[in-house]
């Protein structure tokens, strides 16, 4: 049980995401989870063992470490990644519910059901419209909130994003103000700045995806309003058919280019 399980769960959501959503997922897995597991965990691995205070007083090191690092960077990042990935589960649940409804219709032998067998329903990719649009948009909104909250918590807890080399500690039982030295401060600063930068990129991607979805929503609404006012025109029907075909083609192209297999 590790991040691989999360990859399996979120990979399923990938099929029903927009292109920006697929890019976000790629950035999440390659630049955040992979970096966390492969590199960052090693850098912070020996953090308490190599946290050295200039005193022989037993207990002083423990207390000072606890005072300066109430919660380790690496744990905060792990929590951030878990919380940020969770809203995608809402979309996965909604899609699963829709599939379940379609399967029920198919089994009842409903004439409206356009599928020939259950396999087609299982493989179908749902378009982001109707109630699924609201779930998807809500999930992006929650993602943004979690990212922002964790970034602020980081900044607040560690007074910025720099890891100092030396900390002065006078918590009891340290006999006086004692110098404590952090292990690998520069490497930790580099990784902290890297993770913050990738977090910011993810926030930008989420904002872009939100704007894209809102724009699509309003365009669709105005198209519907426009269509209902005009007389049903043969030429308009041809145009809308061509538009739908173009959308489908561009969507399927993006599926193959950003090949994130589900």
């Amino acid at each position: 049980m590790d991040w691989g399980a999360l990859h399996t769960i979120l990979g399923g959501v990938n099929k029903h995401s927009t292109s920006i959503g697929k890019i976000w997922l790629t950035v999440l897995f390659i630049f955040r989870i992979m970096i966390l597991v492969v590199a960052a965990e090693r850098v912070w691995g020996d953090e308490q063992d190599d946290f050295v205070c200039n005193t022989l007083q037993p207990g002083c090191r423990n207390v000072c470490y606890d005072h300066f690092f109430p919660i380790s960077h690496i744990r905060l990042w792990a929590l951030q990644l878990i919380f940020v990935s969770t809203p995608a589960l809402l979309v996965a649940m909604h899609v699963a519910y829709r599939r379940h409804e379609k399967k029920r219709q198919f089994r009842k032998g409903d004439q409206k059901c356009e599928f020939k067998d259950i396999e087609e329903i299982r493989k179908q990719r749902f378009r982001i419209e109707g109630s699924l649009w609201w779930t998807y948009t809500g999930s992006i909104f929650f993602r943004l909130i979690f990212e922002a909250v964790f970034m602020y918590a980081f900044y607040f807890m560690y007074d910025g994003f720099r890891m100092p080399r030396l900390m002065k500690c006078n918590a009891w039982p340290c006999p006086n103000t004692v110098d404590c030295f952090v292990s690998r401060p520069t490497e930790k600063t580099v990784f902290t700045i890297f993770m913050i930068a990738v977090s910011s990129i993810c926030i930008l991607l989420n904002v872009a995806e939100l704007c894209y979805l809102l724009t699509k929503f309003f365009l669709r609404r105005s198209k519907k309003a426009g269509n209902s006012k005009q007389q049903p025109n043969h030429e308009n029907k041809e145009e809308t058919k061509q538009n739908e075909m173009n959308e489908l083609i561009s969507d399927s192209c993006q599926n193959t280019v950003i090949g994130f297999t589900s």
């Binding site: 049980m1 399980a5 063992d49 037993p58 109430p70 919660i71 744990r75």
Partner: protein
């Protein structure tokens, strides 16, 4: 054998659960199992090595650690996760029994072996009650063993062979407390989900039963 086994087990259970049951599986996966493996395990990894007493007397640290941590938080957490996921196996076994019976008699005995009705409903309700009970038992155990959910940074120990009352310092107490509160919060959330699912199922099937009887009376 690792946590992947539990993950596969829970995925299997998901198929036969109600909507609330699926939310419960998702909460257990994401907020309990994943947090345990990815974050919490490493905090408690060197708890014994980092437990330091203000004395050079050999053996004093060992006895004091053993006195204050009879069972480590992280082991209790792991036990809780395993125990709480296990009642769902009852449902899986019952469905497998139904499918086996159909194969044995070579005829369709049930409309859908995975549908929650009849005997499977009783099994499902029992598994929910067991899950809720076990969650509560572990929460009470945590509370009683560690005097609340706090972890002090200093404990005073005077057990032999420590020559006098000695100060012993626990490593990373704040971080451990944060994760302990997280564990308690997710446990409580799971209890609430189990109780809602229980009430939902009882209300749904009582309504069905009542309607059936009403229809029979009318006929």
């Amino acid at each position: 054998m690792s946590w992947a086994f539990l993950r596969d087990l829970l995925s299997g259970v998901n198929k036969y659960s109600t909507g609330i049951g699926r939310i419960w599986v998702a909460v257990v996966f994401m907020f309990r199992l994943l947090v345990y493996v990815a974050a919490a395990e490493n905090i408690w990894k060197h708890e014994h090595d980092e437990f330091e007493c203000n004395i050079k007397q050999p053996g004093c640290e060992n006895v004091c650690f053993d006195h204050f941590f009879p069972v480590s938080h992280i082991r209790l957490w792991a036990l809780q996760l395993i125990m709480v996921s296990t009642p769902s196996l009852l449902v899986v076994f019952h469905v497998a029994y139904r499918e086996n019976r159909e194969k044995h008699h070579n005829q369709k005995l049930y409309k859908n072996p995975g549908k929650i009705d009849g005997g499977l409903l009783c099994t499902y309700l029992i598994s929910l009650i067991l899950k809720t009970g076990l969650e509560t038992v572990f929460l009470v155990l945590f509370y009683k063993l560690y005097n609340g959910f706090k972890i002090p940074h200093l404990v005073k120990c005077d057990i032999k062979p420590c020559p006098s009352t000695v100060d012993c310092y626990i490593s990373k107490p704040t971080e451990k407390m944060i994760f302990l509160y997280f564990l308690v919060a997710t446990s409580c959330l799971c209890i609430v989900l189990n109780l809602s699912e229980l009430s939902y199922l009882i209300v749904k099937y009582s309504k069905k039963c009542y309607l059936k009887r009403h229809m029979k009376k009318q006929q």
